[in-house]
């Protein structure tokens, strides 16, 4: 019933003619509860055609503060992405950042990240924490800058444009030698939160670490994700957006579609890539980085709802 599909470079080539996208970000639109993602110019056209459309952008893994050879100019890359977002013909309703906002959880990194994100001409930027945002003082430093509902915790929900958005934290709670998890307190909150959501409402979940086990040897999964998915699977349209692994992967399970996104910082190896023993930053020749931190994927899932998604490289025509 479910399938893992890795990004197919041949497919990317075939699709490259479809768009004149200009940004290292995913642009999502929800049309009548159906999440779709469009290339930049397509966004404008699609929005012009339909009313009740919600468009938003996903960015991820900015790692503000990272200064190693794999990307010595993180801020420059983020600014290029922001310029692309600001140039979208139809301004997105919001931007979501799926974690690892900072690299080392330093106050100055969170501060710089917040200032950078404020350069996006959009009403709301919502974040969820990555494990790099939870160092030293747990999430205290992160929450000083990114406490979205004033409740001093890293999970929250809100409704916008007929969509129920849920931000989760899966970076603090773990058992030794295992994967990180959401934890019982957060799962109880999720159950409570969903009580007020009708089954026809499209749901978009944000969480940093993949909500399915991509590669346990590298910790690329969430130990108790199944409990969260069990709560979500009764809804007609559920889209889960993750980061963490700095590459595009997807899994579709019934009405639930799970997607990881590219990073805006540096590439990571493919899971279990031959000759690579660990998930560390990948250094690539000069000129290649802007292509590798933005792969692109478009998928249509036929059935009760469709989902189409476009990821774009920072370097684009």
């Amino acid at each position: 019933m479910s399938k893992d599909r890795e990004f197919d470079p041949q497919r990317r080539q075939a699709l490259s003619c479809l768009s004149a996208w200009s940004g290292a970000a995913v642009v999502w639109s929800l049309v009548g509860g159906v999440p779709r993602a469009f290339a930049a110019d397509a966004v404008g056209r699609a929005a012009a055609k339909s009313t009740g459309t919600l468009t938003f952008v996903q960015i991820s893994d900015t790692h503000i503060g990272f200064n190693k050879p794999a990307n010595p100019d993180i801020v420059g890359g983020v600014r290029r992405a922001i310029a692309d977002i600001n140039a979208l013909p139809h301004a997105p309703a919001l931007v979501v950042h799926t974690g690892d906002v900072s690299h080392l959880s330093k106050p100055e990194e969170f501060g710089q990240a917040r200032e950078l994100l404020a350069e996006i001409r959009v009403d709301r930027v919502h974040t969820v924490p990555g494990e790099h945002d939870a160092l030293d003082d747990g999430l205290a430093g992160y929450l000083k800058q990114f406490d979205h509902d004033g409740k001093n915790r890293a999970w929250y929900s809100f409704d916008q444009g007929g969509v129920h958005f849920i931000g989760l934290s899966n970076v603090l709670d773990f058992k030794m030698g295992s994967l990180t998890s959401l934890g019982d307190e957060q799962l109880a909150w999720l159950k409570q939160d969903l009580r007020h959501v009708s089954h026809s409402t499209p749901i978009v979940v944000l969480a940093h670490i993949p909500m399915w086990t991509v590669y346990a040897q590298w910790g690329w999964g969430t130990a108790d994700a199944d409990q969260a998915l069990a709560l979500l699977k009764r809804y007609g349209s559920v889209t889960i957006l993750n980061g963490h692994i700095h590459q595009v992967l997807q899994k579709v399970e019934g009405n639930v579609a799970l997607h990881t996104a590219m990073s805006l910082a540096y590439p990571l190896p493919k899971p279990g890539q031959p000759g690579v023993g660990e998930p560390g930053p990948v250094k690539v020749p000069a000129g290649e980085l802007g292509k590798l931190i933005g792969t692109r994927e478009l998928t249509v899932v036929r059935g009760k709802h469709e989902l189409a998604m476009v990821d774009m490289p920072l370097d684009h025509a």
């Binding site: 160092l135 773990f174 030794m176």
Partner: protein, 105 residues
């Protein structure tokens, strides 16, 4: 014969002392693993962790008895182990990374 056994014993003692002086107990973090994964030290010994990865790591004892700051590349963390026991620890960023410090007389 006696003499050679004695000299061998002396040499071993000297080597052991030299080893202690030269090799302060150190755990390298490299390629998302603790090396050595298990280390045995005497009570009162100071263990040093050094991060050789480009990715930060942070270690925390399973019983909460010690926790490092985030260690970026080449950062070190030192911890003195006063009491005997077996102390498991984990990287809080990558909880699949675990190690043990055995503290015995």
């Amino acid at each position: 014969m006696k003499l050679s056994i004695l000299s061998l014993a002396l040499a071993l003692v000297a080597a052991a002392h030299a080893g202690l002086a030269a090799d302060a107990p150190t755990v390298e973090i490299r390629k998302f693993a603790f090396t050595p994964q298990e280390i045995t030290v005497a009570p009162g010994a100071k263990v040093t962790w050094i991060n050789r990865d480009e990715t930060p790591h942070q270690i925390k004892a399973g019983d909460g008895s010690f926790v490092s700051k985030a260690m970026d590349t080449d950062d070190r963390y030192e911890q003195v182990f006063a009491k005997e026991g077996d102390f498991r620890y984990v990287c809080t960023l990558h909880p699949f990374m675990t190690g043990i410090v055995h503290v015995h007389k």
